[in-house]
């Protein structure tokens, strides 16, 4: 739903960092709990960048699983549903270690001699 806005935000930041250089690839990291649909984001990216300075720039979406650490049994488990509970013992005092990511990591730009 908001993937078009996200694609626009990625494009804006990319253009700022590219500083006029052609962009080959943009890498973003998005946690499982962010409710971003990768296909929709990819589609929005292609739509937005077509016939722009970013045309042809490939968007790489790294999807980061939601992992919690249990303070009761010390287990680490990966969440499918967003229920913040330990997959091993069911305790709810868990710390979310990954899954909240929402960053633009790197962009690859052509070298300007």
């Amino acid at each position: 739903m908001h993937e078009l806005s996200l694609a626009q935000a990625i494009a804006d930041t990319t253009v700022r960092y590219a500083d006029g250089r052609p962009v080959a690839e943009v890498r973003v990291r998005i946690g499982h709990l962010r409710q971003v649909v990768p296909d929709a984001l990819q589609f929005a990216w292609e739509l937005l960048t077509a016939e722009s300075d970013l045309e042809g720039a490939v968007l790489i979406i790294e999807h980061i699983p939601a992992v919690v650490h249990c303070e009761v049994c010390d287990a680490r488990s990966s969440l499918d549903l967003p229920v913040l509970a330990c997959g091993a013992c069911g305790a709810t005092n868990v710390v979310l270690e990954t899954g909240d990511e929402f960053t633009i990591q790197t962009i690859d730009v052509a070298e300007v001699a």
């Binding site: 908001h2 930041t13 690839e25 509970a85 960053t103 690859d108 052509a110």
Partner: protein, 255 residues
């Protein structure tokens, strides 16, 4: 675009094309003659910058700001009408009304609020399904902030997108109607995790529904153990006083 898939090392991701990238091999110069630039910025960092400026402006004016969110039809506007009717004369309240189009909701509130500023997201903002910080900044310009105690931002009806956008508010609150079903916290975790308070509306309909309140409350706690839940009915007025008391306390505390 590939679908999500799992690897033996436990990572799950999708690729934009059909070859693998190893992050470690892509530092500095890459095999295609490009240079890798580290960005490491939050995806919505531009929005966040404007949101921080909004927050500063609102704090300078001494205004407490609530970002009110829900799915369409959960009862935000009716609740807001009841809230304004009760607090009229006690608090000076401005409303930023977000809608994709029309002034229908803003019209309903115009006689009760001290000031209403309408933001139609279809007018120059691309018909967005949420309010972002830039739109709220535009909405703020239509309010006499220095003469207000409280600003309520009625976000666009949508259970996904508004949750992701900081607009500069002090507190995020959502309205949930019991007609929406017990599983919504699990299906829309970003929203339920983003808010400090969940207002469970339309409780007058509970006798006519199969809605299991306890199961819903368990699901809210599973997703967001810190969320405060409050039951009310904007139609009958049940619980509205308690909600207004909470709002008044928030304004008074300057939190």
């Amino acid at each position: 675009m590939g679908r999500f898939h799992a690897h033996a090392d436990g990572t799950v991701h999708a690729h934009g094309h059909d070859h693998d990238h190893d992050v470690g091999d892509h530092r500095g110069y890459t095999e295609t003659g490009t240079v890798r630039v580290e960005v490491l910025e939050r995806l919505l960092s531009e929005n966040d910058r404007v949101a921080a400026a909004n927050r500063g402006r609102l704090a300078d004016a001494g205004v407490h700001t609530v970002n009110l969110m829900s799915s369409p039809g959960a009862g935000k506007t009716t609740l807001l009408r009841e809230t304004l009717a009760r607090l009229h004369g006690q608090l000076r309240i401005g409303v930023i009304e977000g809608d994709i189009a029309t002034s229908l909701d803003a019209d309903q509130l115009a006689d009760l609020a001290d000031a209403v500023s309408l933001v139609n997201t279809s007018a120059g903002f691309g018909g967005e399904c949420h309010l972002d910080a830039v739109m709220v900044r535009a909405g703020m310009q239509g309010l006499p902030l220095d003469d207000l105690d409280l600003v309520v931002i009625e976000n666009v009806g949508n259970l996904v997108c508004p949750a992701e956008f900081d607009v500069g508010e002090d507190v995020k609150v959502m309205v949930f109607a019991v007609t929406e079903g017990e599983e919504k916290p699990l299906k829309y975790p970003v929203m339920f995790r983003a808010v400090e308070r969940v207002l469970v509306n339309k409780t007058d309909l509970l006798p006519h529904l199969d809605f299991e309140l306890d199961r819903f409350l368990d699901n809210v706690r599973a997703v967001n153990p810190l969320a405060e839940v409050q039951l009310l009915s904007a139609r009958t007025g049940e619980g509205i006083d308690a909600w207004c008391d909470w709002l008044t306390a928030r304004v008074g505390s300057g939190a």
